[in-house]
Amino acid sequence: MSNVITDALCPFCGCMCDDITVVVENNKIIEAKHACKIGAAKIMGHHRIKAPMMRKDKNADFKEVSYDEAINEAARMLANSKRPLMYGWASVLCEVHKKGILLAEELGAIIDNTATVCHGPSTLAVHEKGLPTSTLGQIKNRADVVVFWGSNPVHAHPRHMGRYSVFAKGFFSEKGRRGRKIIVVDVRKTETAGMADEYIQVQQGSDYLVISALRAILAGQAAVVPDTVGGVPKEQLVKLVDTLKAARFGAIFFGMGLTQSMSRYKNIDNAISLTTELNSFGKHVIMPMRGHYNVTGFGQVCAWETGYATAVDFARGAPYYNPGETAANDVLTRKETDAAMIIAGDAGAHFPANSVRHLAKIPVVQIDPYWNPTTEVANVVIPVAICGVEVEGTAYRMDGVSLRYRKMIEPTHPTDLEILEKITKRVIEIRGE
């Protein structure tokens, strides 16, 4: 039996391409048309964890158990914790986030998402300066100058340039690529840089200085700017400012090159100010290149439910927020966490060894469809259905546009939602005892 689903959404990156045609035969996806390499890999699927597993000793092998057993043990571990951490949430839908936040409230836990090692610093910058941005269609229809700063869409967001930012044609941009100037600022010449009209190579860690120099030049204070800033000759900076000033609609897309380098969120803080100041000349917007498809969604749900976008500490019953203190790696580095739930994110792979070392010492529950490094440090592993492929629901694109994912095939495992509901119920029972 064959079934074709059109206008399906890709559940991989923050582009959330919504033009995928999926061909399903006997509840198996056999083709994902229009998807990029990364998206297709996710949609087509592969080895899954078959059944729930548990072990006491992390060096021992897992034993398969029933879902009820695994849920009971997960609830017990979390309910007994004085400083639980609930981390992940990037590759699940907003409906799951809501259940997660409710459980965090019940537990008095810290809830943090993968933005903490991705665009968390971008949120910190938004606290300082706001965010002049727009939906991606504005860029597609209007942008004549596009800057990728510390971001590499060829690798990380393969269809971004085609759908939204470089090749896309629109109402005021009928020439597409030919009508746009593409500038890449990075510390190494990436494939994206190779496609640009101009590549500006910044000395690693010097982005903050370079952005300040651009702002100074823009403010008519070029005289104070030294001949070279962060490895970039002043003439090149002056030329870049001229290009940006002349733009009718400029867009800056930034990535981990800014969030993870020296000065962290202050790089973005500075880039936001540059964007704001450029609005005295033409229209300019700035946007983080969000990684996982629904990492933005967690920030949205968490903000409307708790007032804070991520890294929320419910220890005292009311939300408290202070990355640097309440983010996942803060409490893991300080060895405060005494139990963790890792869901839809892979702390084992994407946290520094120092944090993983602590996870290896405390009770860990993993809720995920796949075996990954977090599994290696887990005590309880609960496999689930894949959101966006086997489960329908809401996600937020990198520009904050929310869309509803379709169910492509029937799940073979329970959903995250069901598991979280059951753990929550059990936690309340345990706490009530």
């Binding site: 090692v117 190494r188 969120y265 996942a328 290896a360």
Partner: protein, 124 residues
């Protein structure tokens, strides 16, 4: 010889395509390597040979690769457990560890690359 570099880590398309399949050899192939420009890589060995990357936070053995987009003194390892064996855990008061800009030393080694399971087993 020992090469002193600044290490950055980050996404690649193959890392992305194998990210939900981290027990596979494809994932190791996609993430357990270190890129240098050909001049600097050449000082350590042939592409495909093994190097040990050492930082104040740990060390890891990965495969040597060439990428001439890298300026002198910049080494790149795709994000993932091999990279994270050597990144800076300090969150700098803002929750974000140091995944980029870590001073590192690289030298040729005959040691093999640990499998994902073996790598994580070191932390238990």
């Amino acid at each position: 010889m020992t090469l002193k570099v600044t290490l950055i880590t980050g996404r690649t398309i193959n890392q992305g395509a194998t990210i939900e399949n981290k027990t596979s050899s494809d994932y190791q192939e996609a993430t357990a390597y270190c890129e240098l420009n050909s001049k600097e890589a050449g000082s350590l060995g042939k592409p495909g040979s093994h190097v040990r990357v050492k930082t104040p936070h740990g060390d890891v053995v990965v495969k040597l690769k060439e990428n001439n987009g890298n300026p002198d003194g910049i080494a790149f390892i795709p994000m993932g457990p091999w990279a994270n064996a050597v990144v800076d855990p300090d969150t700098k008061g803002c929750g974000m560890p140091g995944f980029k800009g870590i001073p590192a030393e690289i030298e040729a080694t005959g040691d093999r690359i640990l499998l994902m399971k073996e790598l994580i087993a070191r932390y238990k």
